[in-house]
């Protein structure tokens, strides 16, 4: 059946009657005609008619009298629309259909989902307000029973509900699981049918139906074909059809843009489920550990790493031995630390070096699924020569100071070391660059840098600082969930961006010499009227009485 009219011919009344009879088949296959429009996929589309209701397989038993309503909101589950029916191509969901439909209906309720999200947010707020991971005595002190916070909140609430380890407590994890099931139920029952509805092409055949759209205009002295060309230029996909009206109406048009914006929310939900799955895998199957290794010493990875959950299984790489060759720091001109580096060598069971790399912060080492991060540093020992004897290694101890600046100190006893009031020389350092020395009375004696090898005389003792030996603070980790989580992250970023697109639909009908245009969009409601006006301004106005196009007058 020839469904694509060449609009330059005047459609005849008789021809349209024949078309009416033929179109009562309610199925038409579109044959792309090279001279009219660009149609990528030959689909079978149901055309609605005033005379008969459409009964195609895609309609699932709906009775449509005038037009197919593409609703913006989720189809209500109560009026018997598509819900829980097994769909053809998606076999994995077949399992889900065995669940009772009532459970599914309850879970995919939108206010429930919103309530769950609020609950998750509220629990997280609580988790930041209450200090996490402290000993029970802390909570006895902070939330005493004699003087409850807000009149009722005592330590009993905190410890029984698990609020001291909120982010791994059953209440939080349970809410997250509930949210995940709601996500799955909602995607299956609501979003997938919505996409099927949106993908359907529909034609509005009456001028009234078009005028009832959110945006509608009438263009006198215009032709639907010109409108179609303008829309195609603006990125819309345009489909023409013949009318199956009893009265002569002329060709009509359906155009849409941004259909990906309807698919994208499904992608968002699936990406979130992927991230949750990856997070669960991380929480139950990874190994973590941290160690502070002085320069020159080594450790075995397996000794340091500890499991975090019941799925954690060690691998062969855990037998690797790590040797710290050198630890050094870079400084700015002002003396602040700019970066710290550790030169590491990894040896396998046979003592063969398998890899060697210099780590720094933001630049970890990856081997055999295990990642080593540079996270901290410490001062291990100070090597000095006393009166040209030595070298002696004095262990440096961390001293408590406000803020996050570090301070280390050591003490060299002078004189009688057995007496209880032993005096000596104190040496303090903030970093590996410079050491400050104090004499036996505690007065400032001088400052030396380790590489200068300059001696300093304090109370008759000659001290030369040979070397400052630092230790590297390393964190080790192996995490099987990371690839899954990264995939989920990438999918979430992409699908969130795509769901910004707005699905715009435009219908037009040629009524004599006037074209009646109507359209709607689901997201960009603020910008749509302006965009439409711009497009309609570009449709050329036909000045002469015959319908052949006059290119010399552009309306608007």
């Amino acid at each position: 059946m020839e469904t694509l009219l060449n609009p330059s011919k005047t459609p005849k009344l008789f021809a349209s009657k024949t078309h009416l009879f033929k179109s009562s088949l309610l199925h038409s296959i579109f044959n792309p005609q090279p001279h009219t429009l660009f149609n990528r996929r030959p689909l079978s589309v149901t055309i609605t008619c005033k005379v008969k209701t459409s009964q195609g397989p895609k309609n699932d038993g709906k009775n449509i009298s005038k037009k197919i309503l593409l609703s913006d909101s989720a189809p209500e589950l109560s009026n018997g629309e598509v819900k829980g029916k097994p769909t053809n191509g998606v076999g994995a969901w077949g399992l889900v259909t065995k669940l009772p439909k009532r459970v599914l209906a309850v879970l995919s309720n939108l206010p429930l989902a919103i309530g769950e999200m609020f609950t998750v947010a509220g629990l997280m707020v609580l988790g930041t307000a209450i200090d996490q991971g402290e000993a029970p005595e802390f909570y006895f002190q902070q939330y005493p029973e004699e003087n409850p916070v807000l009149g009722f909140f005592t330590w009993r609430w905190v410890l029984t509900l698990g609020l001291d380890h909120m982010f791994s407590s059953p209440i939080f994890l349970g809410t997250l699981v509930l949210l995940a099931t709601s996500l799955m139920a909602c995607t299956y029952t609501t979003q997938i049918p919505l996409v099927k509805v949106a993908r359907r092409w529909s034609f509005l055949q009456s001028a009234d139906a078009i005028r009832k759209q959110e945006f509608s205009e009438a263009l006198p002295r215009a032709s639907v074909k010109d409108l179609g060309v303008v829309l195609m230029g603006a990125g819309y996909e345009v489909i023409f059809s013949s009318s199956c009206y009893v009265f002569l109406k002329g060709p009509s048009l359906y155009a849409f843009k941004g259909l990906a914006g309807r698919f994208a929310p499904i992608g968002v939900h699936l990406a979130m489920l992927l991230i949750m799955a990856g997070g669960t895998l991380s929480a139950t199957g990874s190994f973590r550990g941290s160690v502070t290794v002085p320069q020159g010493l080594n450790f075995v990875m397996g000794d340091v790493l500890g499991p975090t959950g019941f799925l954690s299984t060690p691998t062969e790489a855990f037998n690797t031995e790590v040797h710290v060759n050198r630890f050094y720091m870079d400084y700015y001109d002002s003396g602040e630390v700019s970066q710290f580096h550790t030169d590491l060598s990894l040896f396998d069971l046979n003592g063969k070096e398998v890899t060697r790399k210099t780590l720094s912060v933001n630049d970890p080492l990856r081997y055999g699924g295990i990642t080593i991060y540079q996270t901290d540093w410490s001062f291990s020992a100070l090597q000095i020569l006393k009166d040209d004897e030595g070298p002696f290694n004095l262990a440096m101890a961390p001293l408590k100071v406000n803020g996050d600046k570090k301070l280390y100190g050591t003490f060299l006893p002078v004189g009688d070391t057995d007496s209880p009031n032993v005096k000596g020389i104190s040496m303090l350092a903030r970093d590996l660059q410079s050491i400050v020395l104090y004499d036996q009375q505690g007065k400032f004696a001088g400052m030396r840098r380790p590489n200068s090898k300059l001696p300093i005389e304090i109370d008759g003792t000659k001290i030369i600082i040979v070397d400052a030996i630092g230790s590297s603070g390393l964190d080790l980790k192996t995490d099987p969930g990371v690839p899954t989580v990264y995939a989920g992250f990438g999918a979430l970023m992409l699908t969130t961006c795509i769901s910004y697109l707005s699905h715009a639909q435009i219908w037009a009908l040629q009524d004599g010499t006037t074209v009646i245009v109507g359209g709607k969009t689901n997201r960009a409601k603020a910008e749509f009227p302006d965009e439409m006006n711009c497009l309609l301004d570009r449709v050329p106005e036909i000045v002469e009485s015959c319908i052949t196009k006059q290119p010399d007058s552009i309306g608007g």
Binding site: I114, M124, S360, P364, Y373, L492, C497, D530
Partner: protein
């Protein structure tokens, strides 16, 4: 030396220009000048000048310090005010009208004013970066987060405006600033009167005032939705890039750090907003309520957590010192 003087000059210029723009708006409100076209143009030019000044300020700081200008609270506040003026410029070039300037101009001035005020003078010098911040991820993560905050703040302010207009009668009874509210919203209505007169032919309305107020709230609603959707995208990208960076630098992509948790809470609240808009019953006032909550939560996330100064994000912390 030249760079810091240039910075000073640019800061002062942008601040003064924005103050002038806001003064012009207030004048048009209270004097209800009919010929607002001339003043419109000058206030538009003022906003463009501000945008270029703040851009220049950021570029100067970048060149001078050698790192992207987002390493502490002062720089991120300047970046936030740049974000607001950017939103204003994009809106202006799309629609050729500065409807949003009632929201963006005061936001620019408040954030800049706070940044340059005496509370944060210690941070005005370009500081050196701590080792953990020396990464390419700094540019992407922090800039996306701050741009997301700017867009979300703008959108939630529009929702707050919607709520104020809708409940104006209730506020009239309680509040004392009747005249201020009356005039600020009749200003908006005059704008719409000029442009929507052709819609009169197609719709019913009870009285002109109700109709224009309905139009105004509908426009506010739609623009708020659009801007918040955009801000949500930026926030998502910011949070996820932060997680990937954390995995590279600290060993784990999510540590339930206070700042991370509050960013997630902000994300959740705006996800709730987007979901309330899918249902026609909950659209309008309910979604505006959620967005207003989001406004408070963003400030807690951005500022409140920094006041605590704990956790892995302590770079942005500051102590309020009075000079």
């Amino acid at each position: 030396m030249i760079f810091s003087t240039l910075e000073h000059i640019l800061t002062h210029i942008s601040f003064s220009v924005v103050s002038i723009v806001i003064t012009i708006h207030f004048l048009t409100l209270f004097l209800l000048v009919d010929e607002v076209v001339g003043l419109y143009d000058s206030s538009e030019k003022g906003m463009i000048v501000t945008f270029f000044c703040i851009t220049g300020l950021l570029v100067t700081r970048w060149i001078y310090s050698g790192h992207f200008p987002l390493s502490d609270l002062y720089e991120s506040l300047i970046f936030l005010s740049w974000g607001f003026s950017l939103i204003h410029m994009v809106y202006y070039f799309k629609k050729r009208k500065n409807d949003l300037s009632a929201i963006t101009a005061p936001s620019v001035i408040f954030t800049q004013g706070f940044a340059t005020s005496g509370l944060l003078t210690k941070m005005h010098q370009s500081a050196i970066l701590a080792p953990a911040l020396q990464s390419q991820w700094l540019m992407m993560h922090v800039s996306m987060m701050v741009l997301g905050y700017a867009a979300l703040l703008c959108g939630s302010l529009l929702s707050v405006a919607l709520l104020v207009i809708t409940f104006r009668k209730a506020i009239k009874i309680i509040g004392k600033n009747n005249n201020l509210l009356n005039q600020s919203f009749s200003f908006g209505e005059i704008q719409y009167m000029n442009e929507r007169s052709n819609v009169l032919l197609n719709t019913y309305f009870l009285s002109s005032k109700n109709f224009y107020r309905y139009q105004l709230t509908q426009q506010l609603d739609r623009w708020s939705y659009r801007i918040i959707s955009l801000g949500f995208i930026f926030l998502t990208i910011g949070i996820l890039s932060g997680a990937v960076w954390a995995n590279e630098a600290w060993g784990s992509y999510w540590n339930w750090d206070p700042k991370e948790t509050w960013a997630f809470i902000t994300w959740t609240v705006f996800a709730i907003y987007l979901h309330t808009r899918t249902n026609k019953n909950l659209e309008g006032v309910n979604s505006a309520l959620v967005a207003s909550m989001g406004f408070l939560i963003i400030w807690i996330c951005y500022f409140g957590v920094n006041l605590l100064g704990i956790g892995l994000h302590s770079y942005g912390s500051f102590t309020l010192t009075s000079n």
